[in-house]
Symmetry: C2
Subunit: 461 residues, 2 copies
């Protein structure tokens, strides 16, 4: 008890005065899946997908039950993770007006503004080696690629794996379980050069993983930051020969199990190189499962909704943190946390100050990760495009607008808002706005404050 | 690899020739929850219910993803667990005819026939001390109580906790979250005597647990069998003072978390008494969550349906096996298994022969539990009352009839049957009967064979 208190005091003191790990900053790896659902891992209750490496990561680290992303689709979600800022502030939210989309498409010329600070550009100031592997989707003109956003190098796709179809492919080809490589014409880039087109999509996860291993080995002598953003299980689904018929769950399971294998390879490399004790690894996904893709899409488990929706299934994700000897093992963490908090957390771990010339939306998770068990985050904003759809404060969530992702039914406005208690009712079944007027009013005050103070960034697409 | 093969050979040889553990039979504890859903434990993905003791049990043992009970409501489910036989064979299924119910009610005089062999009566032949703690629900006349079915003693309720209401209580009182003790008049029995009425339902889990600890301590010198059948989280929900406001999930979570605490107390006692290495413990529930009880009912997680339904959520349950040094640790087991298999398994562990004068529906799980990883079970029959609603063979499940438990909508017949692949589609979303005609035909052959050979037992209620 006393020991615990002393630890807390030390942590708090350290946090107030000087950077925590400036002397020997840890390596940082963020592994991001694409469209993986809350219920898609064995350690989150999936009945047939086997994820022994992620399960072990959870057993050796901290598994979050209430970890969120900042948007229900990938471009804004990734922009927020990279910058610690709400997409609406930085022009990356998408527009609700007709003719606009919620993610960057090949004809767009905009992207993440160069004046934004990314995790990579922040860590560069402390001499970190930085690499982006996998899907970028934050701007695909040459001057907006990862190498212009703080990454020493880039190896991957500019956008989603379904954004370079060949002509004449079958209707709804991306969701087909009998995928064909020749339906797709994806370009694989190294830095700003196309090195393969069409890309062999079946070996993408394997080649990303080889690249990650190479990066870790090549940089073992200095601190490094690896942003490892897998292209799957976004549709169309492909996996390497070793993972064909690998999973009870079929093709989708094969793809997730290869991703799990990849996570295992990263940890094996860290151990082999003696870096395991000095590397912080965080695993999550960019948004919920694409439910309209049938069996080619994932599962939100007990949560309502999926990708494209601000119901919990669209924005609550698996979140697993591991750092042996620093993050306690086997913890199931119920505190509120968000992908934007990774920005502040990574900077704190590296001993870099968070920018003071702009509004930040992330909070530093290190006190929670390293010992005191409490999140500094109290509020979560659920945006869809440039509209605020819902707000969570504590365990209450008020919906101003609801929408079932990719549904032909238009969004439904709620005035007064509807309210759910996410602790007692995580599946959002029972509207309790009538009984909890003060909780609604409290959240509405947060909404007013947020809207009053918000400076909307210039739309980039 | 060689070591593994030798182990398998030893196991197979042992299995073919002589009882495995006749020399020093292990203690056996079956812990049964009431109406707990597939998704209600943290290790099965519940976002807010904390179950550290059951999570640890899973981490130290084997967690099943495909563990079933034999019926979607409690009386037949418990009859099957106790006897290793389908309820329809032993008169315990209930009748579909109007005016009949699916579980025993206080006015019934029938119950589990005395000529049936229970796990307890079988283990008694090898000198096991036997106790039944908690809910019985297999006959409540004096001659049908546990003490007439192989148990040395009984401490608990004759039926469900909601079956002795006081007069004049509110409508749907059992599902209320503002439960009042005075609404209920349950009788607590020791052996065949009522020792308390009304029973203080708030201390039931605590007192059951004290009784279990006492039984283990009192019998540490001989093999024992403890059938620990909790009365909760069946409604009405009560918990002791220590668990008030304990759970993020509210009252239902408090109740489950007290149950988890109880599991922890059992393991602590086994360790304290030096019995941990020689005790096989299995945890499961009798049927799925009672979805129509709103927040007083549980969650089936990603599975469809709940209590009263033959969709997966009604009959697939958490199933966790632990026996340090014998059952490998940290295994997520995807093989098919059923509560009826506990009968054969317990008898195999104790070195008791399975009755040969009757049709048995259980299979011995010890080869799967102790090392070879494969279940001898290939087929699962899903009965509702005396009607066969569905059949699973391998990973295919055909529904002949479907019913949403406790729904005003009547059951729907499917001729031809509808078919789901439970591996790729565990949530039963996509009927594939049209594409998998041979799988349907194969299951229909199982149905015909089963019906042809089935001798229906005389209905007991």
């Amino acid at each position: 008890m006393l020991k615990h208190s002393i630890l807390l005091i030390l942590l708090c003191t350290a946090n107030l005065s000087a950077p925590l790990y400036a002397a020997k900053p840890p390596n940082i790896i963020i592994i991001l899946a694409d469209d993986l659902g809350y219920g898609d891992l064995s350690c989150y209750g999936h009945p047939t997908i086997r994820t022994p490496n992620l399960d072990r990561m959870a057993a050796e680290g901290m598994r979050f039950t209430d970890f969120y992303v900042a948007a229900c689709v990938c471009t804004p979600s990734r922009a927020a993770l990279m910058t610690g800022r709400l997409p609406i502030r930085i022009g990356m939210a998408g527009l609700s007006a007709p003719g606009h989309r919620d993610v960057l498409v090949p004809k767009d010329t905009g992207g993440l503004p160069l004046e934004e600070t990314t995790i990579a550009s922040a860590l560069k100031t402390k001499g970190y080696a930085t690499q982006c592997i996998g899907k970028w989707h934050l701007g695909h003109t040459p001057q907006l690629l990862p190498t212009h956003h703080g990454f020493d190098s880039f190896y991957g796709l500019r956008w989603s794996v379904d954004q370079e179809p060949n002509k004449g492919i079958p209707k709804n080809a991306s969701a087909r379980l009998d995928q064909k490589l020749e339906w797709w014409n994806d370009a694989l880039l190294r830095d700003d050069k196309i090195i393969e087109q069409p890309t062999d999509l079946s070996t993408l996860t394997r080649r990303y993983t080889a690249e990650a291993i190479h990066f870790i080995e090549a940089n073992k002598g200095r601190p490094f930051f690896l942003y490892f953003a897998h292209s799957y299980p976004h549709v169309p689904l492909f996996r390497s020969k070793d993972f064909e018929q690998h999973s009870l769950r079929g093709l989708y399971g094969d793809v997730v199990e290869e991703l799990d294998w990849s996570v295992g390879q990263v940890f094996a490399t860290l151990k082999k190189e003696g870096l395991d004790q000095n590397t912080f690894v965080f695993f999550t996904s960019d948004n919920g499962p694409w439910l309209t893709k049938d069996l080619a899409g994932g599962s939100a488990g007990p949560l309502r909704g999926g990708k494209g929706s601000t119901w919990e299934g669209g924005m609550r994700e698996p979140g697993i943190a591991r750092w042996p000897g620093k993050i306690p093992a086997g913890v199931v963490m119920h505190e509120l946390a968000c992908s934007m908090d990774l920005f502040n957390t990574c900077l704190a771990l590296a001993g870099v100050a968070v920018p003071k010339d702009r509004v930040m939306d992330g909070v530093d998770m290190t006190p929670m990760l390293l010992g005191n068990g409490h999140s500094a985050r109290e509020v979560m904003f659920y945006y869809r495009k440039d509209q605020l759809y819902a707000v969570r404060k504590g365990h209450y969530k008020a919906h101003l607008v609801t929408y079932d992702g990719y549904s032909p039914q238009p969004p439904v406005e709620h005035d007064p808002p509807i309210l759910y208690d996410l602790n007692s009712d995580p599946s959002e079944r029972f509207d309790i706005a009538g009984e909890q007027a003060e909780a609604v009013a409290d959240i509405m005050r947060e909404v007013e404050k947020h809207k009053r103070e918000l400076v909307v960034g210039k739309p980039q697409f």
